[in-house]
Amino acid sequence: MDLVLFVVLLILVAIAAGLVGSLTGLGGGVVVIPLLIIFFGASVPIAIGTGFVTILATSSATGAAYVRDRLSDIRIGMFLEIATVPGALVGATVTVFLTHANLESALLIALGVVLFAIIPGSLARRHIELPAPQPQDARSKMLGLTGEYHDEVLDQDVAYRAARTTPALGVMLGAGAVSGMFGIGGGVFKVLALERFLNLPMKVSTATSNFMIGVTAAAGAGVMLAAGYVNPILAAPVAVGTASGAFLGSRLLPGLRNRTVRLLFLPVIAALAIEMVLRGFGLP
């Protein structure tokens, strides 16, 4: 393929991925990585390395608004990063070792399976604005894992406190490993832990997950970049396109961020996941 066409197509795909990823909350990586492998001929580790670039661009493009609006709980996010960052370092290291051992097809199958796993997770979100209060555990009290934000829709100040920090740390370790291994944000798993274990309000969970995704991705991206698994000619158009798409998604079409968009989008992810698994097994 001609270079100009290649770059233009990459930018267009990345804009679409950033747009859809920000509207559904799934991030751009779940679309970009399979498409890079299937349609652009990228190797699995290079596609994963580029996946981190999409996460970093999306997270920074949308994260600034969350931090500005005080929805992102930096204290809780930083506390949980103590689990997601080592998880991501281990995950990215495993990916590099699997690549060195010529086990890219195993990586491809695992990636397809993880994409499938995201689908029920993204549909199972509770969408409860304000959860019933639960007692703070000792660790949460010690670290002061509480906060408050002004809810524009409910027109009230909402105070919250983090509960059950131990299982939340466990889930975050796993979420970090998945993110580090496959170059995806893993926001579905993070939001699940923030909502269901820490018992945070939905808006705080989403914004804090976004804050954490950026830091977790920096851990995985650091390993993959330093190990030489990010191709800048591939990553540059993807970064520019994803950031533009995510910015558009968060500014122009907030009304579309609902279950319908997810339901339309999830079959696409399912089809890509099937293709990845089939390729992993060497089937056409």
């Binding site: 001609d2 270079l3 100009v4 290649f6 652009f40 001929g41 190797s43 290079i46 981190f52 670039v53 970093l56 920074s60 994260g63 600034a64 931090v67 500005r68 005080r70 930096i74 204290r75 930083m78 990063e81 103590i82 370092l89 990215a92 290291t93 070792f97 019933a132 007692p135 703070q136 010690m142 670290l143 002061g144 509480t146 906060g147 408050e148 105070a159 950026g214 830091v215 920096a218 851990a219 995985g220 991206a221 650091g222 390993v223 993959m224 970049l225 330093a226 190990a227 030489g228 990010v230 191709n231 800048p232 000619i233 591939l234 990553a235 540059a236 158009p237 970064a239 520019v240 950031a243």
Partner: protein, 140 residues
């Protein structure tokens, strides 16, 4: 109180960093993303103009980043005006943006005297640098 009745829970005491911390972190994100995208876009346009006949297969087969992963290699590349070095710099700024955000978190937790959160944030920072400076180069 019967087991079905919810426990009475006192309203939480809200812990929050100073407003300045949120303003600075927003600035870090915007600046980091803006600089990295500007560098990446500039490098990309320069690459397309410099190598119009290159095929996508050639792009995928030759990863220029490998020459610029050391500080000396990147410095020499930038001094020589290498487009690969410019693109690598853009990627490094993109990866560094969340790390700088952690550094600013460390600064503010320390400033308000929160020892436990300062220790946690410092540990996260050390782990991030470990991945970038030790683990990645070691397994290359």
């Amino acid at each position: 109180m019967t087991p079905d009745e919810p426990a009475v829970i006192e309203p939480p005491r809200v812990h929050r960093l100073p407003d300045e911390a949120y303003t600075r972190m927003t600035l870090v994100l915007r600046l980091g993303l803006g600089i990295s995208l500007a560098v990446l876009l500039g490098g990309l346009v320069a690459y397309v103009l410099a190598y119009p006949g290159t095929s996508s297969q050639s792009v995928l087969a030759h990863n220029p980043i490998l020459s610029y992963l050391s500080l000396s290699g990147l410095g020499a590349g930038l001094a020589a005006g290498s487009i690969g070095a410019v693109l690598t710099l853009g990627l490094i700024v993109l990866v560094a943006t969340p790390i700088v955000r952690v550094v600013s978190g460390l600064y503010y937790f320390r400033k308000v005297g929160e020892r436990a959160m300062t220790a946690i944030t410092f540990t996260v920072l050390v782990l991030l640098l470990l991945g970038l400076l030790v683990i990645g180069p070691h397994i290359r």
